[in-house]
């Protein structure tokens, strides 16, 4: 596939991600930090984010399953998760974390459960798309093109 088409796809996907609120300006910041001295920055951060988040989500699921539920621990995890998602610019995940945090403060187990499901969904959605994006980037770089930036 030629570079132009790949780049077009990349641009469209990025636009869609922003439009649908999956990503926000923070991600743009990260993209700006990528330069020849640091070519894999976004990919590295994203991978780290995915691994970290999956760990946290597993912990959260385990904690909510427990009896009695340790809301403080859950709150700590959610805080972490919120921090990471906000640093990478995963907007919808961050929003979901806020909801989960509220339920946690209220010690509403049902609410927490539902919010957690929501967060998981959002996370998987953004993960899929971001992985797709990164794949495209790899392909573009492999073909010798440059990654187009959104304003």
């Amino acid at each position: 596939m030629d570079v132009a088409k790949l780049q077009q796809q990349h641009l469209e996907l990025t636009q869609a991600l922003f439009k649908e609120g999956f990503l926000d300006e923070q991600f743009t910041q990260l993209q700006q930090l990528e330069d020849p001295s640091n070519p894999e920055f976004v990919a590295e951060v994203s991978t780290l984010f995915f691994d970290d988040s999956q760990r946290i989500l597993a912990e959260l699921t385990k904690s909510l399953d427990g009896d009695p539920v340790d809301f403080k621990k859950i709150d700590a995890y959610v805080h972490q998760f919120k921090g990471s998602s906000s640093s990478i610019g995963a907007h919808r995940v961050k929003v979901g974390c806020t909801v989960l945090r509220t339920c946690c403060e209220e010690e509403n187990r049902e609410g927490c459960w539902q919010a957690l499901q929501q967060v998981k969904q959002e996370f998987f959605l953004v993960k899929n798309r971001l992985e797709l994006l990164l794949q495209l980037e790899q392909q573009i770089l492999a073909e010798g093109g440059t990654i187009p930036f959104m304003e």
Binding site: K19, Q32, D52
Partner: protein, 744 residues
């Protein structure tokens, strides 16, 4: 011996001699005692103006007495001495008596005039007595009037007033009968309403055009009337000789309208009541002037008292009415409040209950879309997704509208980029527009402020709704969106010329005009466009979909933003233009992007490269660490990262550490940023230690204040952008602290 005295020619008449002798003796005695008496009584009396006369008179009398005394000795033969003494005394007596006689000529008229004066004074005294009697009577009458007035005015009850009047008048003037005639409802007759002595007044009425009555009503004085007139014949005649004099006086019945500003207009038919007073029969009494005056005064007072009573009655009535109305209103209000509360509760519950499954459906459908499906399955899922999105929008719309209506919706004001909002709106409608082959264009004026303060979400909702409608209702042609600053010369909504804009230097008015070449609107439908649930045409609803709530919500939002929205159309098929004006705050806060172009609180040269400045980052979150590190590396710093407070302290204790800046995440398990800061402050003096900057995601003022109180040199809000980091580092290097933290 010869003596010139008379010889006793009748020596034998001893008797006669003896009588003379004795009489002379007594005369002398009397003559001596009279002055004594005079002196005694004059001494006793306080006033006696004629002392000199008294002396004279006394002397005269004494001398006469002496003469008579001496003459006692002349009855017998007496010596020459006696004769001499006798002559002397006689001569003296003569002198004094002549003098006295002369004096009396002067004195007696005086004495007589005293008498006349006395008579005159007596007359005067009698006259004064009479007059005093009169005054006393008048004063008593006045007292009676005052007392009567007081009695009358001390009560506001009509009947008490009238009864008291009659009773008191009866007492004061000792009347036989006193009656009051009031006008009937029809106003054509007078009816006997109150009497003094007659206990069962006959229900008598007298027509108003009776000559007596007319005569009385035409004069404001008390008029004497004949005791045969119908108003005076209130009691059955008991066959007495002479009926007492009767007097009648009018009592004006004053209405509230008489007291209005503008003077007392005597014009118009004023109703009068009639008061009839009858003196006791068989007495010779006549009406005195002062009694008549009393009656007139009383009549006036009664008039005033009655009007007060009437006013009071009316105001009491009005007050009762108001109280009733208040109670009714209160109840209605409480009912309304209950209804609103019930509705809000219902909506809140519905909102939550409906949204949760809604979101679940949407989320699951989206996820389903990602999986492998056959084309039919995919189209089914897409339909499900579209419908549920529409439903979610509908639920949100209804909730928003109801919250908007009772004012419980608040705008989330914040700083935002104005052009971005409109660009996004356009991006959202471009796909649909391109499918319909409509061209969409956006033109923004060059003087539009870039950053404004307002609710960007809602502004976008309004813009999206309006532009979306334009696209929806146009089958072909173009949709153009113009954004500019509102100017007074631009056209206004012809239907509401009262919308006015208040200029201020902190706010600006933005005008957005969306013109389309769609189906247009009939001029009579224009006002209804913004009503809820009203679609121009139900056929349109089927064709174009939509809830009919969109424009109503837009209008509410625009009103919340202190603006105005209206629609103009030249008619069916001629397209339409929607214009809305909103008030937005002018942003004084400078966005990071613009910091280059404007003056910060600290004018700081901005470095792009910090030339290997050593920086330590402490954060327990791996992703955050990596991102912050990436940022700092981009800015040319030499970054060290640690994952906990303890590690941080360890690194800092190593000899030869020369970190310029230390970034501390405040929320870390084990040892949080505050504790690290404390330990560092204890260990190092302020010149040896690196600059401390706290990293926090919390926007709370208290977090910020706590950091600054601990001695940190700055507080940064996560997530940090490249430009913010650049600016912060520049400021730190230049000033040793961030512009909003205390200097070192």
């Amino acid at each position: 011996m010869d003596c010139n005295c008379e010889e006793a020619f009748w020596p034998a008449d001893d008797l006669l001699m003896r009588y003379q002798y004795i009489s002379d003796f007594f005369i002398a005695l009397a003559y001596f005692s009279i002055p004594l008496e005079l002196i005694y009584f004059v001494k006793k009396s306080a006033v006696f103006p004629y002392r000199w006369v008294l002396v004279q008179f006394g002397a005269f009398i004494v001398l006469c007495g002496a003469t008579h005394l001496i003459s006692l000795w002349t009855f017998a033969p007496h010596s020459r001495t006696v004769a001499a003494v006798m002559s002397v005394s006689k001569v003296l007596t003569a002198v004094v008596s002549c003098a006295t006689a002369l004096m009396l000529v002067h004195i007696i008229p005086d004495l007589l005039s005293v008498k006349t004066r006395e008579l005159f004074l007596k007359n005067k005294a009698a006259e004064l007595d009479r007059e005093m009697g009169l005054i006393r009577t008048q004063e008593e009458t006045g007292r009676h009037v005052r007392m009567l007035t007081h009695e009358i005015r001390s009560t506001l009850d009509r009947h008490t007033i009238l009864n008291t009047t009659l009773v008191e008048l009866g007492k004061t003037l000792a009347l036989e009968e006193c009656a009051l005639w009031m006008p009937t409802r029809s106003g054509l007759e007078l009816q006997l309403s109150h009497t003094l002595r007659t206990t069962n007044p006959m229900a008598v009425t007298v027509p108003l055009h009776h000559p007596t009555i007319i005569q009385v009503f035409n004069s404001n004085r008390a008029v004497a009337i004949s005791s045969n007139s119908p108003v005076a014949a209130t009691r059955p005649r008991t066959g007495k000789y002479v009926e007492g004099d009767v007097v009648a006086v009018r009592v004006p019945l004053l209405h509230l309208s008489n007291f209005r500003v503008g003077g007392w207009s005597d014009s118009g038919k004023r109703p009068y009541a009639l008061m009839v007073l009858m003196l006791p029969s068989d007495s010779a009494r006549r009406w005195h002037i002062h009694e008549l005056e009393l009656v007139e005064v009383v009549a006036d007072q009664v008039a005033v008292a009655l009007s007060h009573a009437a006013i009071l009655e009316e105001s009491m009535r009005a007050r009762d009415l108001l109280m009733e109305q208040n109670v009714a209103l209160d109840m209605a209000r409480r009912e309304a409040e209950t209804a609103i509360c019930a509705r809000n509760d219902f909506l809140a519950v519905m909102n939550h209950e409906m949204r949760t499954p809604m979101h679940a459906i949407i989320a699951m459908a989206s996820l389903l879309q990602e999986t492998k499906m056959t084309p039919e399955q995919r189209s089914m899922v897409e339909t499900v997704l579209r419908s549920s999105n529409l439903l979610a929008t509908l639920i949100s719309d209804v909730l928003d509208l109801s919250r908007l209506e009772d004012g419980s919706l608040d705008l989330d004001t914040r700083n935002f980029n104005l052009p971005t909002v409109f660009r996004e709106v356009l991006n959202l409608v471009k796909p649909i527009a391109s499918v319909k082959k409509l061209s969409v264009s956006l033109s923004m004026a060059s003087d539009l402020p870039e950053y404004v303060i307002g609710d960007d979400k809602r502004l976008m909702q309004v813009a999206l709704n309006v532009v979306g409608n334009a696209v929806k209702f146009s089958r072909e042609g173009s949709v153009s969106v113009t954004v500019c600053l509102e100017r007074p010369e631009y056209t206004r909504d012809p239907r509401s010329p009262d919308f006015c804009m208040v200029p201020s230097k902190h706010h600006c008015y933005i005008r957005v005009q969306v013109r389309d070449t769609g189906i247009g609107i009939k001029s009579q439908d224009l006002p209804k466009v913004f009503s809820k649930f009203v679609q121009k045409d139900s056929s349109l609803n089927k064709h174009f979909g939509g809830t009919g709530l969109g424009l109503a919500i837009c209008k509410r939002f625009v009103n919340l933003m202190e603006g105005h929205i209206w629609i103009e159309s030249d008619g069916l098929g001629k397209g339409s233009t929607v214009v809305f004006i909103v008030k937005l705050g002018i942003s004084e806060q400078i966005n990071e992007m613009d910091q280059r172009n404007s003056l910060a609180v600290h004018p700081t040269p901005v470095y792009s490269n910090f030339n290997g400045m050593r920086v330590l980052v402490t954060d327990d979150n791996g992703v955050n660490r990596m991102v912050t590190r990436g940022l700092l590396m981009r800015l040319g710093c030499d970054v060290t990262v640690v994952g906990s407070g303890r590690e941080c302290l360890q690194v800092l204790s190593q000899p030869g550490q020369n970190f310029r800046v230390l970034f501390l995440d405040v929320c870390m398990p084990d040892m949080d940023g505050y504790e690290v800061a404390n330990r560092i402050q204890e260990k190092f003096s302020s010149h040896e230690r690196p600059l401390l900057v706290a990293l926090t995601a919390s926007t709370n003022r208290s977090t910020r204040e706590r950091c600054l109180n601990l001695g940190m040199d700055g507080v940064l809000l996560k997530p940090i952008s490249l430009d913010k980091m650049r600016a912060v580092l520049s400021e730190l290097l230049e000033w040793g602290s961030l512009s909003d933290s205390p200097r070192r």
